[in-house]
């Protein structure tokens, strides 16, 4: 299994779920934290301004000259700094207004302070929107003295903004950490599936006979079921092959009797034609038996059984047999750079394929049959069976793999060999081609690793 999420994969589903969970969680935290903090800061701010406006009320008095004055400056020095955003103002009818040193320009709206109760609102201040607190108190002449304190809204926004930025940064960090942790958990959680994927790969490449390894309780029953199925399937195929062989065996002997009877019939007066019909039909039956039995014997439908073809060992017994079968032909093996190479192929099927090609070449060769192995750096492998016979015409080449194609009826054979060879090659995932060479005919069997990894 790939460690990168691919569309439709469990890994991607988990990743999307965790991402959604983290984003929703972090978002909720962000909104909650910003809301709570803003409320808390605003409340603190308002409390502070209320304290300041009360202090302003306590410190203000009407001097002997009838002018408003403070007995001492406000305790917060920000009211002394020009345009600091912290302002106060005291006004009364027929008296000169008193303002904080910070308020070097503009005025505060005295109408905000129109009641002995402390009231607040958002107003335009000397340096932008300001939170303004105010109340009134009676002066010596029973006039209303307006006490107003204002603080720029931007100050509160700055505090909240600064907190929000810091919080966002931390939450992004937390989100990244949670996502990374989530991915690690996904990898850890899906690791048994990765191992299962590796086990399936080994099974497909023929390196194992079943799914190997121990798996978590959730997967183990599935693996056990799959292994049971694989074993059952292998047993069934083995039994089918034996049954097919038994069937062929039991059919061939009576067929031999029928063939003999037909031959005898052909030797009697008037028996030639019926004999020919019987012999032709017996031959057709024999061809079907051979072809279907070869298919049953091959690993069709189960191309990657747990077997290996080892080079050049696979060819040695076949070549020894060929030397006995065609004693007047010289069989040569050229292994080139393939000694010790192993191919993930069914040895029985591959041997059958090589045997058919070598026997065919042995029948047609004038003197020599060459078996060449060539191993390419890209792990592809080629086996070439080359004879020094007369080769084939284009027409013969185009019909060579058809069932019953025989190009010389003087030579023994059923005309099935190459058809079975093509069937075997297909079942093994190999390519089989025939071509003429300067010396004769060449049968080329190619193995490409990519063709196995379906």
């Amino acid at each position: 299994m790939s460690s990168r999420p691919v569309p439709g994969s469990l890994r991607l589903r988990f990743l999307l779920a965790i991402t959604l969970w983290v984003v929703l969680g972090i978002g909720a935290i962000w909104f909650s934290a910003v809301g709570i903090f803003s409320k808390h800061v605003e409340e603190s701010y308002h409390e502070e301004l209320e304290v300041h406006v009360r202090e302003l009320g306590r410190l203000a008095e009407v001097g002997p000259d009838g002018q408003l004055r403070l007995t001492r400056p406000l305790s917060d020095p920000r009211y002394e700094e020009p345009l600091s955003g912290f302002y106060w103002q005291i006004t009364a009818r027929n008296r000169q207004a008193l303002r904080s040193e910070s308020m070097t320009r503009g005025t505060l709206d005295e109408h905000i302070a129109h009641s002995p109760e402390i009231l607040h609102t958002l107003e335009n201040g000397p340096s932008g929107p300001a939170i303004t607190y105010g109340f009134t108190r009676k002066g010596p002449s029973d006039e209303d003295i307006h006490f107003v304190i204002a603080t720029d809204q931007s100050e509160l926004d700055r505090l909240i903004g600064s907190f929000t930025r810091d919080l966002s940064l931390w939450l992004v960090g937390l989100g990244v950490f949670l996502l990374a942790t989530g991915m690690a958990i996904i990898s850890f959680g899906l690791h048994p599936l990765d191992r299962l994927s590796v086990a399936i790969g080994r099974l497909r490449r023929g390196e194992a006979q079943d799914l190997e390894g121990r798996y978590p309780a959730e997967i183990a029953p599935l693996v056990a079921d799959l292994n049971a199925y694989l074993h059952q399937n292998a047993d069934m195929i083995a039994k089918s092959r034996v049954q097919a062989a038994n069937l062929a065996h039991s059919l061939r002997t009576p067929l031999a009797v029928i063939t003999d009877e037909a031959e005898r019939l052909g030797e009697t007066a008037g028996g030639r034609e019926p004999s020919k019909v019987l012999l032709d039909q017996a031959r057709a039956m024999e061809q079907q038996i051979d072809f279907q039995l070869a298919r049953a014997r091959s690993s069709t439908g189960q191309p990657y059984s747990a077997r290996w073809v080892r080079l050049p060992e696979v060819a040695e017994p076949i070549l020894r047999a060929m030397k006995r079968l065609h004693p007047d032909k010289h069989f040569v093996l050229e292994t080139n750079n393939c000694d010790g190479v192993q191919l993930p192929l069914d040895e029985v099927d591959y041997s059958e394929l090589l045997s058919i090609l070598l026997d065919n070449a042995g029948k047609w060769a004038t003197r020599e049959v060459k078996l060449q192995f060539v191993c390419e750096p890209n792990q592809s492998f080629t086996a070439r069976v080359i004879d020094d016979g007369s080769g084939m015409t284009e027409k013969e080449l185009s019909h060579a793999f058809e069932i019953g194609s025989r190009f010389d009826r003087q030579k023994s054979g059923s005309g099935l060999g190459l058809a079975i060879a093509r069937d075997l090659a297909d079942a093994l995932g190999l390519t089989l081609d025939l071509s003429n060479t300067p010396s004769g005919l060449a049968a080329t069997v190619c193995f490409h690793p990519a063709s196995i990894e379906r």
Binding site: H249, T253, A256, V257, E263, L279, A321, S351
Partner: protein, 218 residues
């Protein structure tokens, strides 16, 4: 020429034996592995036709047993097993040829003759010694280019002499090759046959080795 046929199917065994006898072979039939394994003179047979699927054992094991016992008789496997795995195993166990049932008798005979030729180290069927030539397939004999008319037994005897030219063969050896074990076998039959053959091909070809038998001059 005497052949041993090891075939468990009685019908096929009978038919095959009849065919081979009609082709002038003396045929012994064994119907199971034990019978074939105990056969007293497998080494003296011209060839063995061996079925693999025997009721009391595997033909391949029997083949190995014979080869381990240094039996050099050509052995042709005639079986219903048609896979190359079986063929390679059979040939590497010591078989000289492998034929899958059913087979036309014509082809079987050709394969047997190929085995005989291989054993004799010749590439064609024709046996030629001096002015005599014998074609075992066409069943013809020529003496100095003139066709000779020989009876079935005379032809078999001449074929045996020419295959083993230069070797001394006792009357018993000749009887073993010409007749099946359960046939009526009388030693004077050989003397009568040799006498008739000498009259047809010339006395000089067959030399009597007193107390030992006959030798066909090369």
């Amino acid at each position: 020429m005497r052949l041993l046929v090891v075939e468990d199917d009685p019908e096929l065994g009978r038919r095959l034996s009849d065919r081979l006898r009609a082709a002038d072979f003396a045929v012994e039939l064994a119907t199971c592995r034990n019978e074939a394994e105990d056969w007293p003179d497998v080494g003296a047979m011209a060839a063995v036709i061996l079925d693999l699927g025997l009721p009391d054992g595997d033909g391949i094991d029997l083949l190995r047993h014979w080869r381990n016992a240094r039996v050099e008789t050509p052995i042709l496997i005639l079986t219903a097993r048609g896979s190359w795995q079986d063929k390679v195993e059979g040939l590497n166990a010591g078989a000289d040829d492998f034929v899958v049932k059913p087979v036309r008798f014509e082809e079987l005979q050709a394969r047997l003759n190929a085995l005989f030729r291989r054993q004799q180290g010749t590439r064609n069927n024709l046996l030629e010694i001096g002015d005599l030539s014998l074609d075992p397939i066409a069943r013809t004999v020529e003496h100095a280019g003139v066709p000779l008319a020989l009876s079935k037994q005379e032809f078999r005897l001449l074929h045996l002499f020419m295959r083993r030219a230069g070797q001394v063969m006792s009357q018993a050896d000749i009887l073993d090759d010409l007749y099946e074990l359960d046939a009526d076998r009388e030693l004077n039959t050989v003397e009568v046959l040799v006498g008739r053959l000498r009259r047809k091909i010339g006395r000089e070809h067959i030399v009597t080795q007193r107390g030992m038998g006959y030798r066909f001059e090369k």
